[in-house]
């Protein structure tokens, strides 16, 4: 597809990097010639220097033939204007980043009246992600499928679960619940386990299930799954504000620590149910005073990555809380991952991810039968959702009789709105949607899951 990206900041360049890898034709626009130069030297993209809301710049970038235009500059209004102008001269889909909380409530109105396909608010998206993690503290990562009817949860296998050394098939037999272990990460390697795969302690295990069943599963293996009751947030920026709103709505007791007096006053006006504490979040004594030792969750959202990481390490030492750390800089993510901080949130990554999902879904709707595509297990495997429209070689046959490719699992079948985990005797029927987890790339049709004879 032909894609134009306006704004080459962190989100813009992350997007360009990912989309370039997927063989799209990219044109990037920025007012800063150095950024353009840098990006077009490291990626196979065409750079164009200028203001993205200028029709001349846009048509030089080929907006008339573009399929998607993504506006991710630092300014909300500019992003909206870019989309608006592009829409006037072209049939392309438009995506804008709009982060000002003032527009947040009116986002649906703006989308509809300006004809924008997608509006993304990075802070709100990050806050949603964090809130999902707090709702399910044992999971390190959580993705949803089929409009929320199925979940993919990643958790660490601890010795107290007493599952280490057991085969996947035995575990299923022992626990008797409708979940599927669809991915295991061990020491940098990724496995798609079959029935006789043996789990080990410290593995990062991903399971897929409906929300109800996943709760049951975690209860059975002995993880307390209930959502946290309270949260201690450090940093009262926009992200902190959104998070506090969402958590308060979930009836979680929130304490928010913010350094600036004026901001504290503003926040306490906006958030009457939240305890706003004015003070330095890096003050050990203050944290202990606010009850860090007994907090069930601790979220660090200051603007300094180093500060966030240090605070989280400290919290890990003094409490049992579920810890979520915000890290802005992506470059050293392998180092950060090595620190075992629990859940790490990269807001820019989340924004880029959301947009990518949209672009992929669009690309897929043109060329193949894939409904949605997620990169899971650190991007080394894919979860694809296929819609089964007609009869084919895979429908009507019990799954145990299909000769599936290696490293491929049929993770769940969604029939008439009910998600269930398929067993050997189940068969795919027309009308279903099927989620396939695999490390094999480039599947375009459901029949591609079979081994080629």
């Amino acid at each position: 597809m032909k894609i134009i990206i306006i704004g080459c900041g962190k989100v813009g360049s992350t997007l360009a990097e990912e989309l370039c890898e997927e063989d799209h034709e990219l044109t990037v626009i920025d007012t800063n010639p150095q950024k353009i130069q840098q990006l077009s030297e490291s990626l196979d993209v065409m750079g164009s220097c200028g203001n993205g809301s200028s029709i001349q710049v846009l048509s030089e970038a080929g907006v008339e033939e573009a399929d998607i235009l993504i506006a991710v500059t630092g300014s909300d209004e500019l992003n909206l204007l870019c989309c608006l102008i592009a829409k006037k001269v072209s049939q392309c889909h438009t995506i804008a980043r709009v982060r000002n909380p003032i527009y947040h409530k009116e986002v649906h109105f703006i989308k509809k009246s300006l004809g924008i396909s997608m509006i993304i608010n990075p802070e709100f998206a990050a806050a949603m992600e964090i809130s999902r993690l707090l709702r399910f503290p044992s999971a390190i990562k959580l993705d949803t499928f089929s409009k929320g009817r199925a979940e993919l949860l990643k958790f660490k296998l601890l010795p107290e679960f007493k599952l280490g050394g057991m085969k996947v098939a035995d575990i299923m037999e022992k626990l008797r619940c409708d979940v599927l272990i669809c991915g295991v990460e061990r020491g940098g390697q990724v496995f798609i386990p079959s029935g006789d795969f043996v789990l080990e302690d410290q593995d990062l295990v991903s399971v897929i299930a409906s929300p109800k069943n996943s709760n049951l599963f975690f209860k059975k293996i002995g993880i307390h799954t209930h959502q946290v009751k309270n949260a201690l947030i450090v940093g009262g920026g926009t992200l902190g504000f959104y998070l506090a709103v969402i958590l308060s709505d979930m009836r979680i007791k929130v304490s928010l620590i913010e350094k600036k007096r004026e901001r504290c006053e503003e926040l306490s006006e906006l958030l009457p149910t939240v305890t706003v504490v004015c003070g330095d979040g890096t003050d050990k004594k203050l944290l202990m005073e606010e009850g860090l030792a007994h907090a069930e969750s601790f979220v660090t959202l200051t603007n300094m990555d180093e500060e966030n990481i240090l605070l989280s390490l400290f919290a890990k030492k003094v409490s049992q809380a579920k810890i979520v750390t915000k890290v802005n800089r992506i470059a050293f993510d392998d180092i950060v991952d090595g620190l075992d901080l629990g859940s790490v949130i990269h807001p820019k990554y989340i924004t880029a991810d959301y947009i990518l999902q949209y672009v992929r879904a669009m690309g897929n709707s043109i060329g193949s039968n894939v409904e949605t595509l997620y990169h899971i297990l650190d991007g080394r495997a894919e979860a694809l959702e296929f819609a089964v429209r007609e009869k084919s070689s895979v429908t009507g046959v019990p799954l145990s009789e299909l000769r599936l490719k290696d490293n491929l699992l049929i993770a769940c079948i969604n029939r008439n709105g009910v998600v269930h985990i398929p067993r050997g005797q189940d068969a795919i029927q027309p009308g279903d949607t099927v989620i396939v987890v695999t490390t094999v790339r480039g599947l375009n049709d459901l029949t591609d899951i079979l081994k080629v004879r």
Partner: protein, 480 residues
């Protein structure tokens, strides 16, 4: 320096050269010449070497500008060395330096020959000589990029940047591969058009092919001893037009294809290029009008020579060695001007001259208004300081190499005009010079040492100096 990826790409280049050699083999079969075997042997050798280099896939595919420059420079050297083998095997030449000179002259689209009797060559060798022009014109690595799909990051643009001429190389479309493809499609289409038009003028197929290759690459190897003088006026006019067309920046053709006529016709470089051509033709026609039967013929001859020299092709339809001083001087000056950036021609390039003139204007402006601030613009876009700086440095390096080469070639003891124009014609990839290296003479008179200097000049001219100079820096060959 990531040597494994450099080796790997050179392996590909060798494999492509083997494929290119299939064409002279076909010619040899058609004309039933035994020389075809030399090409088969060389192609097999290329394949073998290429296979050895390709066998180990590089683990590290990281590719920076330095790797791009070194790969391009080494590829061209390897290409020339392997390409010269058929000349020796067929016995067309006995001196290896001569064979190398002839091949480098071919690939760099210079067209300077050491042969006194071109017509004595066999058809397949003649074909290969001209075909090297066609490959070298647009560049072998650009060809490679158009066929190979390189996934992931876009660092392979560095290969294109090192091979394509001009002060700032940019893509026509977002991906390198499609850009390379578009360039080659335009190139092939125009070559085919010329072949067709030449055939219409009753030129034999073999002549039409070789001469079109020479025109397209702006090379200039003739297949007749008198270059183009023997052909009809129609054929000379067709070649004149195509020489000039191949010297135009290919971006202009791309804009035309995209129906952006206004943008295409307002490109400053292209306008300037045509202006220089028209003025030169007018000036020369007036000063040589007494030497030809009619003014029309004078204009036609002037146009052919001007087109040939400014695009750095180097065909000749008349012996301009016999022309008076003024038109000769104009031709020598045109040698340095060269064609447009992003074309197949050589020389300093019109766009560089435009930039240089603009900097001079700016300097004068700052002398008048010392505190004024002025940004240079070209085609409505601001010229970055970096581009201007690179242009200045290029000119300095160019002048230094030129002067030093004239000095070295001077040790052979020929007259100054010969030495000066020989170096100018090598460094600008033209072909003929004046005096002893005039259009009906050849470069055979130089010693081996002087020939090596000229070989260096030809490569330096085609690759725009810096890729080649980088090979002489010690740090280039170190891992850190």
């Amino acid at each position: 320096m990531n040597f494994s990826i450099v080796k790997y790409i050179i392996g590909y280049v060798l494999a492509f050269e083997a494929a290119f050699m299939a064409l002279p083999c076909i010619v040899a079969v058609v004309y039933q010449e035994r020389e075809g075997w030399s090409f088969v042997i060389t192609a097999a050798l290329c394949l073998l070497l290429g296979f050895l280099l390709l066998r180990r896939k590089p683990e590290n595919r990281v590719f920076y500008i330095k790797e791009g420059f070194v790969t391009v420079a080494l590829s061209w050297i390897v290409l020339s060395v392997m390409g010269s083998i058929p000349f020796l095997l067929t016995g067309s030449m006995t001196n290896p330096v001569d064979a190398l000179f002839e091949t480098v002259s071919g690939f760099t689209t210079t067209g300077a020959s050491i042969l006194s009797d071109v017509e004595a060559l066999s058809r397949s060798v003649m074909f290969w000589r001209s075909f090297t022009h066609w490959i070298g014109g647009m560049g072998v690595l650009v060809f490679l990029l158009s066929l190979l799909h390189v996934k992931g990051d876009g660092s392979h643009i560095n290969l294109m940047r090192a091979e394509s001429p001009g002060p700032s190389v940019s893509k026509l479309v977002p991906t390198v591969q499609s850009t390379a493809k578009i360039l080659y499609i335009i190139y092939i289409a125009m070559t085919l058009l010329e072949i067709g038009l030449l055939l219409l003028g009753k030129m034999p197929l073999f002549d039409a092919l070789t001469i079109s290759f020479g025109t397209a690459g702006t090379g200039g190897f003739g297949i007749k001893n008198d270059s183009m003088a023997g052909y009809s006026v129609y054929l000379q006019v067709v070649v004149t037009i195509f020489m000039i067309l191949f010297g135009v920046n290919f971006s202009a053709y791309f804009l035309l294809l995209r129906k952006k006529f206004k943008q295409a016709f307002s490109m400053e470089e292209v306008r300037c290029y045509f202006l220089i051509i028209l003025v030169s033709i007018a000036a020369i026609s007036i000063s040589v009008k007494d030497m030809y039967a009619s003014f029309g013929e004078a204009v036609q001859q002037a146009a052919f020579q001007v087109g040939s020299i400014i695009t750095t092709t180097g065909y000749a339809s008349t012996d301009f060695n016999l022309w008076p001083e003024v038109p000769q001087t104009i031709l020598v000056l045109l040698m340095f001007v060269g064609a447009c950036a992003g074309s197949t021609g050589g020389g300093i390039k019109v766009s560089r001259l435009v930039i240089l003139v603009k900097t001079i204007k700016k300097e004068l402006h700052t002398l008048l208004h010392p505190r004024s601030l002025k940004k240079l613009k070209m085609d409505g876009h601001t010229l970055e300081h970096e581009t201007v700086r690179a242009t200045n440095v290029f000119l300095i390096a160019y002048v230094l190499i030129f002067s030093f080469s004239v000095l070295l070639v001077g040790f052979d003891g020929h007259d100054l005009v010969t030495n000066f124009t020989a170096v100018a014609s090598a460094l600008n990839n033209i072909g003929p010079g004046l005096s002893l290296v005039g259009p009906i003479e050849n470069f055979g008179l130089f010693s081996n040492g002087a020939k090596l200097v000229l070989i260096f000049d030809m490569l330096a001219g085609r690759l725009e100096i810096f890729p080649l100079l980088l090979l002489f820096v010690r740090d280039t060959w170190k891992k850190f």
